[in-house]
Symmetry: none
Subunit: 149 residues, 4 copies
Amino acid sequence: MLSIKRLSRDEAFIMIAAAEKKATAIGVPQVIAVADESGNLIAFSRMDGGKSSSIQIAIAKAFTSGAARNPTMFYNEHCVPGSPSFGIHVSNEGKFSIIGGGVPVYAGNDCIGGIGVSSGTPAQDVEVADAGVKALEAQWKRKKARTKK
Amino acid sequence: MLSIKRLSRDEAFIMIAAAEKKATAIGVPQVIAVADESGNLIAFSRMDGGKSSSIQIAIAKAFTSGAARNPTMFYNEHCVPGSPSFGIHVSNEGKFSIIGGGVPVYAGNDCIGGIGVSSGTPAQDVEVADAGVKALEAQWKRKKARTKK
Amino acid sequence: MLSIKRLSRDEAFIMIAAAEKKATAIGVPQVIAVADESGNLIAFSRMDGGKSSSIQIAIAKAFTSGAARNPTMFYNEHCVPGSPSFGIHVSNEGKFSIIGGGVPVYAGNDCIGGIGVSSGTPAQDVEVADAGVKALEAQWKRKKARTKK
Amino acid sequence: MLSIKRLSRDEAFIMIAAAEKKATAIGVPQVIAVADESGNLIAFSRMDGGKSSSIQIAIAKAFTSGAARNPTMFYNEHCVPGSPSFGIHVSNEGKFSIIGGGVPVYAGNDCIGGIGVSSGTPAQDVEVADAGVKALEAQWKRKKARTKK
């Protein structure tokens, strides 16, 4: 039997809260999804004004970063005509996103989930997704520091 | 031009919080989705232990109750072989759910969204979805009372 | 962070070997799939003579029993017109199977995966799936007995 | 009436065993699928640690190499904008993979199936798929040698 590490529901919403805060700061209402290490949705928020076309994109970015364990930008850079990974953008019934804005969450060497953001430019989406991941990592550090005392 | 009434992001999460509270009270980790009046996802939470097969079902129940403006149980009762609405359960590329647990949200005569719950028995799912709707209605009443003063 | 129990690759093939042995004994070439606790495929074998139409069915049965944590026969019994769970057979983009032959695997209270069998009658499929589960449970008992010594 | 040559279940697992051995040697837990000459799945193994997003990709690579009778890399090289085969990567409802890692199996002039590997880099996936094919060809040679004696 295997023992798998997975983002909890509360951790997913810590990420969403921080991502929404960053989205508000840069003035872009975003659609934000968090998936687990298997790519399955844990948490989701579409801010007022977020695009309805971004719902599936955000969920796909969360799936991709969580299940494939890389930022979607990694695949974006490699998935160009003539490259051997070209075509990955149409895999998984269209649920594999190579658009910037999906970022995996690692606990040590284990990918335990991913966050996907959509509605802004890819650069804005990445910035908001990163804010979500950093907030969770900061929370982990605070917890660890408390435990050590 | 039309002016459409729609659940806000904050209202969606008021519903999810109340639904999660009820789910915890009855001891069933649930998957909860809230959609707008067009059927598009606004908010989502999979409680720790919620089934991964319930993700699409909860989203489908929210879509159905929000967009079709009836509880999914309404369709469940009518969608039986020989009835003229039989077949609706396979419409919308499988996203039309007739399983109990989807409940629309009305503001007066306007359906402004819907909540869908999945992972328990249909009766438990309905109970948890109802708790979400009631919490939002109670909040509206409190606001109205404050405004009158 | 959550810690999730999941069937390993080797455990999945212990189940497939036992299921194939039973299928051979009853003279029905079967298609056998094993999924993890999230419903994702781990192992698969189509015996020579197994039906090609059974590929998706076996995978769907494994998904359903692993992710929804019940035998597919449970849903078969409940999913009848007029029942509040009628309609579940068309959920999850057709990947939710209510045909007999999907059986979950439990380690204590945790569902860690599921096995799905297709090509025979539902009764034969259940018999073969059960043989797979029992073989794994027997192996666990032997291991436990060895550890105690 | 036609007589079709097709990979057997046992031959498929000879390929998977050799592919897994190579995957272990290069330190990449892989997802491996084997399809028949019609593109239908015969055998599948997701090694512990293989990505869940690779399940559909490996199956698509096996389908493509078995049914289209070429390595997926062949299509990767030709499927570039401006080339007359550009667009094939979105055919077959997304099940046609042009990512490196799908390799057909030939018995003389007949394509009798294909193997698809996913989770590593395309180069690693090709290396592991090739190991599967070579192991089966070696086994055929040994059998032939024995028959001659």
